[in-house]
């Protein structure tokens, strides 16, 4: 039997096979870069100091955030989950409720963000906040 030697295929000078890989890498790179540059967070409307709003006593839920991160609601310390449950219940009873957060000056910013996150998650429309020892709301 006569075995024919295998012919080696020669490189085609017009081949552009690796261009697919390169363009794919380029697309991945742009997707990643585009993701990096977007700014995310919470869009908050600050309380108007010149025109204070009048709120019914029963619509108001006042919460104090201490420097340790402790949440005080109606004079009692509650956890973030408990606060979430209580705010949800209050909102169901009073749809126009206003949540007022009074923040201690030394409170870490992350604790403030945690509360804002919960309020946003519960879709509380009227949210106001101010620093403790501050007369204006």
């Amino acid at each position: 039997m006569k075995l024919q030697p295998r012919r080696r295929s020669f490189d085609d000078p017009g081949s552009s096979g690796s261009l697919n890989d390169l363009s794919f890498l380029l697309i991945i790179f742009f997707i990643v870069i585009a993701g990096f540059n977007t700014t995310k967070g919470f869009l908050v409307t600050l309380p108007d100091t010149s025109r204070p709003r009048l709120v019914h006593q029963e619509d108001l839920m006042r919460c104090t955030l201490q420097s340790t991160g402790a949440i005080i609601l109606d004079g009692k310390e509650v956890s973030l989950n408990e606060l979430s449950t209580m705010v949800g219940a209050k909102r169901n009873a009073y749809p126009n409720m206003t949540f007022l957060l009074v923040i201690n000056a030394e409170t870490k910013y992350q604790y403030v963000i945690d509360i804002i996150h919960e309020i946003r998650r519960l879709d509380v429309e009227n949210f106001s906040f101010r620093m403790e020892d501050n007369v204006q709301s």
Binding site: G14, S18, L22, Y109
Partner: protein
Amino acid sequence: MFSLKKERKKPVIATASMSDIGFLLLIFIMLISLMNQKYEEKIEYTEAKQIEKTEAEENLEIWIRRDGAISIEGDYISLEYLEALIAASVTQDPMVRIHIIADRNTPYKYVDQAVKILQKLQHRVVSFVVREEL
């Protein structure tokens, strides 16, 4: 009778070096985009699970370090200068989005300083920048 006419080769555009060109282009774009990167202060970001995109067409980022130092685009500034800068930005474009990017351990009193300035200038929409919690 023999034909003495030379057989013409079909013209071929060599694209073998295209991959090299593509690679160089990739490196070039990567370097350019790294150069165009936004200013970043070395802070520990605050984190939350559900956040929204707050970027607008025109943005002004106020960075607040945990010691209360305020910077904009790498320049550390006083509160008076911050007020002037925000006023100038808002005058130039009333739709400018102000972002507050503070370290997670920053005492709130420092963030409140910036908030008070915005309230004073009647620019009432502010973005608290947060990193998505994984």
